[in-house]
Amino acid sequence: MQETIVGVLLVTVALLAVVLQIIGRKPGSGMTKKQKVMLWRILAATVLLLALQMLGREAFDAMGPAGRFVRLALYLVDYAIIGYDILRKAYKGIRNGQVFDENFLMAVATLGALALAVYENGDYLEAIAVMLFYQVGEWFQSYAVGKSRRNISELMDIRPDYANVETDGKLEKVDPDEVEVGTIITVQPGEKVPIDGVVIEGRSTLNTAALTGESLPREVAEGEEIVSGCINMTGLLRIRTTKEFGESTVSKILDLVENASSRKSRSEDFISRFAKIYTPAVCYAALALAIIPPVVLLVMGKGAGWSTWIYRALTFLVASCPCALVISIPLSFFAGIGGASKAGVLVKGSNYLETLSQTKIVVFDKTGTLTQGVFEVTGIHHNELSNEALLEFAALAESASSHPISKSLQKAYGKEIDRSRVSDITEISGNGVTATVDGKKVAAGNDKLMKTLGVNFAPCHSVGTIIHVAIDGKYAGHIVISDVVKPRAKDAIAALKGAGVRRAVMLTGDAKKVADQVAGELGIDEVRAELLPGDKVDQVEKLISSKGEKEKLAFVGDGINDAPVLRRADIGIAMGAMGSDAAIEAADVVLMDDDPMQIAKAIKISRKCLGIVYQNIVVAIGIKLVCLLLVAVGCASMWLAVFADVGVMILAVLNAIRALFVKNL
């Protein structure tokens, strides 16, 4: 019965090797030369083993006393074909003081089994078959890992291959690295934009899917900035480059993603530490298994049964191989990071993916994160002057500021700003500005500014940001500016709660009334309003010290004014990073899009990935322990041990690849 099973198994392996060899001939199969050589070795060893098994012991016994040695020699040749590299590596390992690795385990186990077989003139099949199946397993692992590694890398590869530069009226393809700043490049429909720049001719629709994960088309026209990595869909564009390739968005993102898995997570550290302790530990355990029970039995006056216990110890070594763990954990993280970057979520390292999955508190910056950051003037009240005149004074006073509120005032004013009319601009952070406009002292800002200046102001009942204006120390009225909440912000908060976030906190420099209204509308738990930029770091620190050790705090901002807070939080998430270098630098997780739904998506991706990591750790270690136990009590043969090893490894690798699929999260 067992003979038939072994025969069928060997024939299957041989056929598989032939089929794979044929697949390997095709270009693009991704099989390395080493793997092809290994396939030949597997094929040769299997065929020889099959032939020897078919001949059987009787054929050699018929040759007389020399038959035993001829048979041994042939089996040894077969063993050498399939296992010589393992033996060599084990030998080198011992010489270099790296004794306990899986090569050593396999070498000792199979050589030991061979020695037992020689001693008994018995079955050499087992030792060779174990080596053979171990090699088959290793081959599949290296092929599967290599293939998924390449697939994921391709997925993340948004590197443009060339840039079209016009020389003497002809388009020439050049390496993007060689294009200097200020060169005019042409991007044809269907091509990737290779370098950041400004459109000087043409208009077109861009596909930003490679950057944001969402194929929302984006229009560009003359004079507008264009980000590298987008695909030009419709029209011919001529672009003047504003950056070198190395400084362009696409390079930055590639750099970030490629280096992401270099920052190792705690789980990965745990596994490499575990492997370092584990291998020597099982070697000593095996040694103990070989020596202690027979000695104890001898002392008790029973037969020692040395060969039984040595066999069990060797099987123990085969079963203990830690490959499944060591390979599947980094692969899971790599797949998770790859899948996330496909969805427009760039995670800068496995450690951040791990932290992200433990996020329980999310702190938002209001402006630009939950709201669009596009302010509009919605009312002008209590003014003595005409609406236009008041707006003009306010816009001029704020003309030097780049704050979104100043921008909206300037936009509402609508005319060119004549800076020569303004002097003595003082910006009081978190309060407003004072300036001299047309010889008049103008102050524009919030309640605090009016109080410090001692101006009697009229409080406003509308919700929004109130800009009071005082001229020459006299109150002149106020302007109401409101921000617009992002359409999906409410759903995003709900989705976060669904993903296990316990508290959503909003920080803002805005007035309490505005903040409360936005928070109520969106379902935010806590609000800290009227903060100066520096206060946000303090608030985040307070929140961090108030939470539990295992809970992590994420801060979400637009990366423009909040770099210190992004750094201080356990994990900093920057939104809408397309084209914003500051955000990419400062944050740990970068959302290419400015849709708040992406935050929940990022957390869900990290949860899925970490879930897979834990599954692999638990299943791999669990099955290993059960196998080791079965072997120690003598319930499992070396066959079962090697199948358990290879099987767990393949399962773990397949499970790891699941982390790549994040579309429906």
């Binding site: 790296q98 290296s142 692969l331």
Partner: protein
Amino acid sequence: MKKTYKIEVDCANCANLMEDAARKTAGVASATVNFMTQKMIVEFEEGKTPADVMGDVLKNCKKVEPDCEIFL
């Protein structure tokens, strides 16, 4: 100074061993091996050039993992 090298290594555990070996090489301030992207990032100590150090790094890596390759 920091430099990135392309490497070829078959198994994740061997990549860890290479990382250890590279870190212990004289002249290397820090080293990270990224198995997934098959890259090794080496930071050199002050005053050491990659040409001086990388030969030793390769030698030490070959010791722990004979099958590995670093493309210098």
